[in-house]
């Protein structure tokens, strides 16, 4: 049993033994893990997956064995385990290289459809955002022209196995938020900072109104806002899918764009992107040419809720008379450990009642492209989340990430529940829009006691 075997990992991006050796197998991650809670199977837990990664590294389990491949893809990469781990195991630093190792080892044996889809998605759509906008325009035409109804009725989607992809596709925004080097001046003086706004990929075509709201709220908070054209996708999709090389190529573009912009802070309104951007330092740790630049960049990245909470927001907030529950994006709550800031911001809005749901920080099952790659588990977690939401009977679910927003919207629509899904920053923007100077006394005093 003790003979030395060769590691199943090779080349760069090997899950570091120093990270998995931190795990003492206490099991505290089990009750935090969505896939463990759903299956109650040890293999589907963070502790189990760490044991498997270690076994592959020690040559006791094959890198491409079905069990290993399944567990590496069934993991949501939600990082809830990391947030509760007293031993400090940086789980994401194990999973992402493990996936990269699997992808490299199976490159030539994948079914052609999957390889093609991957190449198109990672190599084209997310690498060149203009192509994403072209596809989005086609999709918008499809969704609004009546074609969608015809196609859905025809049954052709099922025949082509595209039904799920089609149903999950986001509703495309009326206009896109295209970064072209725009500059918006702060709405108040003195100017607090120049903020670089990250337009995102899915955000700019499907949640353009959130990007616009982000700019307006930042302006009101006293920021000059810039949107340099040279920015692009953050690379999270590629890194999570096990393509760290492409992730690094995308990261370099953003680092350079930020360095040239003259902005002091890089503001992101998508939690998944924010977490990836904050981890550029780690992504380039082994690259002497980029390590320092990447670390300096990451130190300047802020989630929009984190940044607004830090600098304080303008007090002219109007009433939003609604019960709101907050769904914590995993990559905000766990990967970035930001939990209180969005709740504090929501608490500033007059009339808004924040009612906490049970398991608010448990993954909703969206997890990037997980809802396409692991449809069954994604649906189970989606249903679990909708149940928790309905239990507190809100009018609005607030969140701070496009993936969550899509999953929640689709889940609520499927059950015909009339509950709106909004980004925290949209609610702030709505609140500013609802502000009436006549109500100055009450809202100003509310804001000042809270601020």
């Amino acid at each position: 049993m003790n003979e030395a075997h060769a590691s199943g990992f090779s080349g760069p991006d090997v899950p570091p033994a120093a990270v998995y050796d931190q795990c003492v197998r206490c099991g505290l991650c089990l009750p935090a893990c969505p896939t463990y809670l759903e299956t109650l199977v040890e293999t589907s837990s963070p502790r189990g997956r760490i044991a498997l990664i270690k076994a592959v590294d020690e040559g006791r389990l094959d890198l491409t064995s079905p069990g290993f491949v399944h567990q590496m893809s069934e993991c949501l990469d939600c990082r809830a385990c990391e947030a509760v781990c007293p031993s400090g195991v940086a789980y994401g630093q194990l999973l992402e290289p493990a996936r990269t190792q699997i992808e490299r080892a199976t490159e030539n044996t994948q079914p052609p459809g999957r390889a093609f889809g991957r190449a198109v998605a990672l190599g084209t759509l997310f690498s060149h955002l203009w192509t994403m906008r072209v596809v989005a325009r086609l999709l918008r035409f499809y969704q609004r022209s009546g074609l969608q109804r015809l196609v859905r009725a025809s049954g052709i989607l099922r025949a082509l196995r595209l039904a799920r992809l089609e149903a999950l596709a986001p509703a495309i925004s009326t206009r896109f938020f295209v970064p072209r080097g725009q500059r918006w001046d702060a709405a108040v003086t003195p100017v607090r900072a120049t903020a670089f706004v990250h337009a995102g990929c899915i955000m700019q075509v499907a949640f353009a109104e959130v990007d616009e709201a982000t700019v307006r709220v930042l302006q009101r908070a006293g920021c000059d806002v810039v949107a340099p054209a040279a920015q692009g996708c953050c690379g999270a999709i590629a890194v999570h899918a096990g393509d760290m090389d492409r992730g690094r190529a995308l990261a370099k573009r953003n680092i350079a764009a930020f360095e040239r912009s003259g902005a002091e802070v890089y503001v992101v309104n998508a939690a998944g992107c924010g977490s990836a951007l904050k981890e550029y330092g780690h992504l380039f740790a082994a690259d002497p040419l980029w390590a320092e630049r990447a670390a300096a960049f990451s130190a300047r990245v802020r989630d929009v809720t984190e940044f607004l909470d830090e600098i304080g927001i303008a007090p002219e907030l109007g009433v939003i008379d609604a019960v709101v529950t907050y769904q914590e994006p995993c990559h905000l709550a766990h990967a970035q450990r930001i939990s209180a800031a969005p709740r504090r911001l929501l608490g500033l809005i007059p009339g808004l009642t924040l009612r906490e749901m049970d398991e608010s920080s448990l993954c909703c099952g969206s997890a990037g492209v997980y809802n396409l790659t692991q449809p069954e588990m994604s649906d189970r977690l989606g249903r679990r989340k909708i149940e928790r939401i309905l239990a507190v009977r809100p009018q609005i679910v607030a969140t701070a990430n496009p993936g969550c927003a899509l999953q929640l919207t689709n889940g609520l629509r499927a059950g015909d529940h009339r509950i709106a899904v909004k980004h925290v920053v949209e609610l702030l923007d709505d609140s500013y829009a609802a502000y009436k100077p006549t109500s100055r006394a009450s809202s100003a005093s509310a804001a000042s006691t809270l601020g």
Partner: protein
Amino acid sequence: MIAPLEPRLAGELAQIVGEANVLLAEADLLAYGYDGTWYDSTPRCVVLPADTAEVSAIHRLATRERLALTPRAMGSGLSGGSVPLGGSIVLGIMRLNRILEIDEVNAVAIVQPGVVTADLQRAVEAKGLFYPPDPSSLKQSAIGGNVAENAGGARCLKYGVTADYVMALEVVLPGGEIVRTGGKTVKNVTGYDLRALFTGAEGTLGTITEVTLRLLPLPKFTKTATAAFARIEDAAATVVAILAAGIVPTSIELLDQLTMRCLEENRSTGLPVDSDALLLFAVDGNYESVVDDELGRIAEIAGRNGAQSTRVASDAAESARLWEARRAVSPALARKRPHKLGEDIAVPRSALVAMVRAVREIAARNDLLIPLFGHAGDGNLHPNILCDRRDPAEMARVRVAAREIFEAAVALGGTLSGEHGIGVLKKQFMELDIGPHALAVMRRIKDAIDPLGIMNPGKIFPDPGGIDAFELPAGPARP
């Protein structure tokens, strides 16, 4: 390597529990080969039943085919109790996870063994009731495992251990017979106390499938306080003095400096890391004035015994942070060295000061880091020997230190294990603690109930060779 279970037998198991609940893939077997210790021993199969009838059918098959079974709940044990030795089949009970009844009139809860301890506490507290046993693993351990290992926790000082709450059990015997013992009555002296026998038997006598637990009224007030000391012996002396004064706090926990530093690296709680030791107190009761009065007396006694400072937690949030930090101690120690050997000795409180001193001396003599923490109020201490298993010279010293700690505890009138159980980790020391005759009685009981020896083999009873055969599991082979 262990040969996987023959397809014929795997097929029979699948007929009992359904194909999806028989795990044979290499990855699954690896994931069920450990608990919260170092031990790794791959099972030949994992079977996940859904009810008592399925458990019983699995036992009948195991008896017919002479297959070894190791019952397992959440696998967070700290003695190797649920590690499947010699290719034993893991019988995972986490699908039996329903709270069957919370009987408010009789103040009992009837639960399946896969109910997570923290979930049970939350459910009964919502009804104004209280389940006191609180192992630090309460979020990642289940009632079945708690009963099998007779788990303790911080509140044992005032409220006792898991066994003190077990009113009735349903146990599947090795041959598949279903035994029910005990009931909802407070008093029950009808015959031998089989509840006591199966509680803490570590799955060596059968599989627990249902547990009836005693509940108490939830105390209206619970407050937390701390006292910091420049010398750990003064902290230990304070514990003895408080108890001698007739005060029974809910908990008195001890954390030494090294322990506090590991915790602060994990998450800053503002612990006094420059002090040599900290005592953490909980006091509960139904009258706030009484609780406050006891806290005042505790602070006074601590001051008289050399405390540098004392503090009462200002609110529930601060108190929750302190207790969460306390529960994170064991895993947080991994921040200093790659591995740890966690011990679980208990001594009478009159020997507390001497035991603390002995651990410090053993650490110095063997040139090892041994952070010391534990439930000082009830004399149950967890010296954790930090080490790197890949360093054979260091591991030789660890082996010596572990033995010396056990010997010191027994010499002081104490015992090997307060709450973790014997499992694999401490079995070679059994005779040192209980002597040859008590050990022989235990063997006869084991043989009477499990004559084929199929239940959780390799646990509790020492292998030939006694203490001298004590070996720590070897470090992982790395290329």
